[in-house]
């Protein structure tokens, strides 16, 4: 399940409660667009802000509405026992994969992070995706740790954070990682603004925030890049540049949340307080970008 386009929808909230109708509608759009998988509770789905009960419920709703498309969900938490409980809940709900980021409050040592992946990997029966996201977790995998974790049992993919490297360098990094990890573990990219380059450089799956709201457009881009069609990839990617500029400047979550609010896909506000979607001038800029073309 860890190849192609994986769409990461919002979990819209109203006064701290999940807006189930709006969430189901988002999932139905993804199912209709036949994305390759759905990341029901990624960072974009605010997993870290939800209770165990809310996470179990959202996961179950996603699996039901996904129309057979594989669903994965995050089991990240600060305590190991919570991670294991969340993994049980998610597997019971029928997920086909589990996302695990090394959340931290006290910064984790490399050894602590290795041990936590080991404990979880040995306890689960569906594949794990190693979720590398230093901007949210504060944790940076060393290259050695990433490779060691990728060799554990039950690892299906690595969701890499944007490397910031130029295309040639990115291809080298991706090839080096590819050589060092089992063939059963795919390399994936996040950071939508750089995803096209990463896919051309060898990433096998795009974990996409924008696809959670606009799966058709992002599927076109993913297909172009995964087939190696550089010209078409560049043209499509350039057409999304006004969006990527906002993602780079404000973070993808605030932009996609505001876009969902502005287009009536979710109620306003949809993020858990104290987080806010785009406000003021930035929101007006997004409104302008959305008026220039129809995203779908």
């Amino acid at each position: 399940m860890f190849t192609g386009l994986s769409a990461f929808p919002l979990t819209p909230l109203v006064n701290g409660q999940v807006d189930e109708t709006a969430f189901l509608s988002l999932i139905e759009t993804l199912a209709a667009a036949r994305v390759d998988s759905i990341g029901a509770l990624g960072s974009t789905g605010s997993y870290a802000y939800l209770s165990r009960q809310q996470r179990a419920r959202v996961t179950a709703l996603a699996v039901e509405a996904a129309d057979g498309i594989p669903v994965m969900t995050s089991i990240g938490a600060l305590r190991l026992d919570e991670m294991l409980q969340l993994a049980d809940d998610a597997q019971r709900a029928g997920v086909r994969g589990l996302l695990l980021a090394p959340l931290s409050y006290q910064p984790l040592s490399q050894e602590e992070a290795y041990r936590l992946y080991e404990r979880v990997a040995l306890a689960v029966s569906v594949p794990l995706c190693i979720y590398d996201n230093p901007a949210t977790t504060g944790f940076t995998f060393t290259p050695d740790l990433l490779r060691a974790v990728a060799r554990l049992p039950n690892i299906g993919s690595i969701k890499l954070s944007p490397s910031g490297a130029a295309p040639a360098q990115m291809a080298e990094e991706m090839a080096a990682l590819r050589r060092d990890i089992p063939a059963t573990v795919t390399t994936g990219t996040s950071g939508d603004a750089q995803a096209a380059s990463a896919l051309l450089a060898g990433a096998e799956i795009w974990y996409s925030v924008a696809a959670g709201l606009w799966p058709h457009d992002m599927r076109a881009l993913a297909e172009a890049a995964l087939s190696g069609d550089e010209a078409r990839t560049a043209a499509l990617n350039a057409s999304f540049e006004p969006l990527w500029a906002l993602f780079r400047h404000h973070g993808s979550l605030r932009v996609i949340a505001a876009a969902a609010e502005l287009t009536g896909r979710v109620a306003t506000p949809c993020l858990p307080e104290p987080l806010q979607s785009l406000q003021g001038d930035a929101r007006a800029q997004l409104q302008h970008v959305l008026a220039l073309r129809e995203y779908r």
Copy 2:
């Protein structure tokens, strides 16, 4: 309550449950040493790893056992509604202050952080301590934000992270901050290895990890520094340098947890998994340091 020596004890865990007997014994030691206040659920008390129920229980135990010494507790959480619930619980338990760090998963904007302090400050009836700890929260206060938050109602203190500046520079920074914030808001220091310098430079309270285990020794150091006795401060501080070296290298939590384990004050292991106290060579080094003198 936000002056002098504030002791931050561990919350010892056994299989994820609070070891209440061990915790009460730590609090009783602090009460007997007459520290100026007790920070029952600081970072050292693993507040971020505990459930709402556990936090309420630990806070109540601390207030009961503190023998009249003012207790403060952390209300940090990712969601605003959780922070407000935790504040209610803590106030009901009889705390005299609330610690609030801007926890984050999605990095908070300065504006989001301001609004969250504003919302909480207006909702509580005991003073708040602004808890600045970028290493754990991933959030950095700009100087402007720190000053703006300090001017909100119900702010009692600022718990600053170690500045890393040389003494003269530190005194200037502290004086500049002091001029810009209300007289009712004290400036406090954390980071035990640098605390003596910060107190000599003008900080009015030391939020101390080491005092949570060894209140007598740290009270002697705090009193020397707060009275401006530079020679005595330097001598005492030098005597603790083997400890501070370990704090700097491994983080204070892992060292103090291992020290509590090694001296039988708590069961082993006492930290929430995946966190580990010092292991291997580092633990042996600590054992050697503890054998050189009796800390109390």
